[in-house]
Amino acid sequence: MKIYATRSSRILDAAINIVMILTILTCLVPFIYILALSLSSPRAIVNNEVFLLPKDINVESYKQIFTYPNFFTAYGNTLQYTIFGTAISLFLMVLFAYPLSKSWLIGNRPLMKLVVFSMFFTGGLIPNYLLISYLHLTNTRWAMLIPFAINPFNLILLINFFRSMPVELEDAALIDGLDYFGILTKIILPLSSAGLATVGLYTAVFFWNDWFNGLIYLKSSQFPVMLFLRNIVNGTSMVGDAAGAADKSTIGISIKGAVIIVTTLPIIAIYPFLQKYFVKGVMIGSIKG
């Protein structure tokens, strides 16, 4: 059967398309602009000749940031924190969320309340710092990984995701002789790729972007690259005691642009690969009758 578009539906389609295109442009134009700046000569930028296309294309800014003494170390650190942080986080959250998704388990409710409590109330900076310090985690890379392994918000997402699984699936698996660990690894996890991808992405983005914890808990050789980015983009526009010195020094916007591109591109590049997990209808057809 052929569906003929009515006039009103065509107008609606056009309106939707325009809104979508505007949304895409809002996200894309600043990024392209920064990219163009990072590839242009300082002379062209100062003379206001750059908009969406780079002028006097060169890669000097990129060369320059690659010669910063600690850039690659910091970059490597961030990669480590993101990969291992996400792995540890997903592992612990799956093991925590699965039992919490079973409301009939004894102790479920008080535990759940503790989780929710920690979502709204934290110890504050100094107590947290002292805790990490007394655990001898400061100046070790564990300080980046362990304290943030379980994020209550992501945990609740995961719990709800597991809860939405039809209980009949597990019943069938139990009848077939699987234990709960088997059900988790053989039935639940394979069906949870959408949930895991979502939570995994949130976690990866958190670890990638985190600079503050790196600053306070680590020594400088372990700093993540985001601290580096922050110093270049923000370090020269500050107020306070050091402002006199900072006002004197300016960093070319092409270098700022290059650092922004280099430090944000990898995490942005992950999205398309995870896209398929978001759209796949995992549960369709898993139950018959």
Binding site: P42, R43, I45, V46, N47, N48, P69, N70, Q80, F84, A87, I88, F91, I126, Y129, S133, H136, T138, N139, T140, R141, W142, L145, G182, T185, K186, L189, P190, W211, L215, I216, K219, S220, Q222, F223, L227, F228, R230, N231, I232, N234, G235, T236, S237, M238, V239, G240, D241, A242, A243, G244, A245, A246, D247, K248, S249, T250, I251, G252, I253
Partner: protein
């Protein structure tokens, strides 16, 4: 799936011990006879990224027989890191560079988190010698806290630099037959002529935002207010004749000041974007493309703009401070600057004396003081029999200039590590023009006044002053913006403003300051 899952977890578990390094740092205690080992915080500016193999750093380490673990902290977050280290006492480094006892640090010092280094003056012979030589004994007394001690070894300046001020297009002044401005009225006239010739422009712009303009121009009106005010109070100012604080924010001096700048704003002579911090590139853009022809900024920065502009004959020149109702003044400066601090923890080390002596030698010995400025004789410069400095060709021919070349290549002249600043020695690194302007300013007399004394607060007074400071400062910022842009009328709303500041306790705030001098 199960296999892959378990394998993945095992792999993760195996990799993790690789992270567990770094705990061995606490074992940095010195072993007798060998080099002395200690750690040091360094505030790293992205325009001058620290390199551990800089000639200056290596020379200083070697000359003092030190093995320093340099902890390079980004400047944007330096204070947070230092504050955490001092507040918690754990994980503090042995030495912290680039610190003063203003603000939070003074409380930390009085509560024992910082070593009162004045108690150990026998261990800092080089520092003592430089202070005496440069005649700064009185200046050092100014950094003493309520208990009469000082808690850091400051950097020392014999004559403060005139490093920034009004910078104007010299070629345009010539073209329009104008003299270089000497007073703020002259400046108004010059800007007016600029505007007439290019009506689309905003002739006066400011780098980095209004605070630079305020701190460089207010002293000529007898006040210093705002986020970088000389007193650090934001709303009080110092009366240099009577030697006491007065509520500058509600004084007639401020009224005259804001009236003048409102006039510039209203007539389109002042860049309206200055309310937001204007970053370096936008600022360069405005000047290089002729959208602005005058600015308040620093001398270091004008070279880049001149190089980039495509306008024929483009020439920027910095001029001495302009005269206002209170004379011609630049922002007040102290002859002491941020310096070296020892956290309390360091004093518990057995080799504490040796650390202090080593640091003293690294930064204040006559040889090293010169080395941090000029580099190493024979490598970066040579000297004739009369002591005249001649830099090597690589430095002289460098397109970025001697000063910048020595900075980035060898680490000379980083204000984090250089503690001794002799004006005459510094000027050898700059072009003749800059030295000339500095000479002119020095001859004008007290253009650069000294920073007002910091009151010697105890904890309670400091707490009380803090309670007044923030609301007053916020209110001033709000009103100041409104007055400048004309959102509030200086004539009609002035009394309401003064009443609000008084109700927020500006007079009481001023009393607390004057009582604790």
């Amino acid at each position: 799936m199960k296999k892959a899952f378990v394998m993945g977890m095992l792999l993760t578990a195996c990799m993790l011990p690789a992270f567990a390094n770094g705990t061995s740092e606490s074992a940095s205690q010195n072993t007798a006879g060998s080099k002395i080992k200690f750690s040091m915080y360094y505030s790293d500016n992205a325009t001058l990224p620290f390199k551990s193999d800089w000639l200056t750093v290596k020379t200083a380490d070697e000359s003092a027989n030190a093995d320093v673990t340099w902890e390079i902290i980004p400047i944007a977050d330096y204070q947070t890191k230092v504050s955490l280290a001092l507040n918690t006492g754990t994980n503090a480094p042995d030495v912290i560079l680039y610190q003063t006892t203003k603000g939070e640090n003074s409380n930390l010092a009085l509560n024992g988190a910082i070593v009162p280094i004045s108690d150990y003056s026998d261990w800092t012979p080089n520092f003592n010698a430089r202070v005496k030589e440069m005649g700064l004994t009185d200046e050092i007394d100014k950094i003493r806290l309520k208990d009469g001690k000082f808690y850091y070894l400051p950097s020392l300046y014999d004559v403060p630099f005139y490093d920034g001020g009004p910078i104007i297009r010299e070629d345009l002044l010539e073209k329009y037959g104008l003299d270089a401005p000497k007073t703020f009225d002259d400046l108004y006239h010059v800007l007016k002529v600029f505007k007439e010739h290019s009506p689309d422009s905003y002739p006066l712009t400011i780098l980095a935002g209004p605070r630079v303009l305020y701190r460089m121009t207010m002293p000529s009106f007898g006040i210093s207010l705002g986020k970088n005010s000389a007193s650090g109070t934001n709303t009080l100012s110092w009366n240099y004749e009577e030697k006491k604080y007065f509520p500058g924010a509600i004084s007639d001096k401020y009224k005259a000041y804001i009236t003048y700048f409102h006039k510039l704003y209203a007539e389109g002579l002042l860049d309206p974007e200055m309310a937001d911090p204007i970053d370096g590139d936008k600022w360069s853009q405005k000047l290089a493309t002729g959208k602005a022809m005058a600015t308040y900024a620093y001398y270091d920065q004008i070279g880049g703009v001149e190089g980039a502009s495509t306008i024929d004959g483009f020439k920027l020149q910095m001029y001495p401070a302009l005269a206002g109702p209170a004379g011609a003044h630049h922002q007040p400066k102290s002859k002491t600057g941020a310096g070296i601090m020892f956290p309390y923890k360091t004093s518990k080390r057995k080799d504490f004396e040796q650390i202090v002596r080593t640091v003293d030698k690294m930064f204040y010995s006559a040889d090293n003081a010169k080395m941090w400025c000029l580099g190493v004789k024979g490598i970066t410069y040579d000297e004739d029999a009369n002591g005249n400095v001649q830099f090597v060709d690589a430095a002289k021919n460098s397109p970025e200039g001697i000063y910048k070349y020595l900075q980035t290549t060898y680490g000379c002249g980083s204000d984090v590590t250089q503690q001794v600043w002799i004006n005459k020695r510094e000027m050898t690194k700059y072009d003749a023009n800059y030295a000339q302007i500095n000479k002119e300013v020095e001859d004008m007399g007290d253009v650069i006044q000294s920073i007002p004394p910091t009151p010697k607060f105890d904890d309670a007074a400091s707490e009380e002053a803090g309670l007044y400071q923030t609301p007053l400062s916020d209110a001033w910022e709000r009103w100041n913006d409104a007055f400048l842009t004309g959102a509030k009328s200086i004539d009609k709303d002035w009394n309401t403003y003064v009443a609000e500041m008084k109700s927020l306790g500006i007079e009481k705030f001023c009393d607390i300051y004057n009582k604790n001098l």
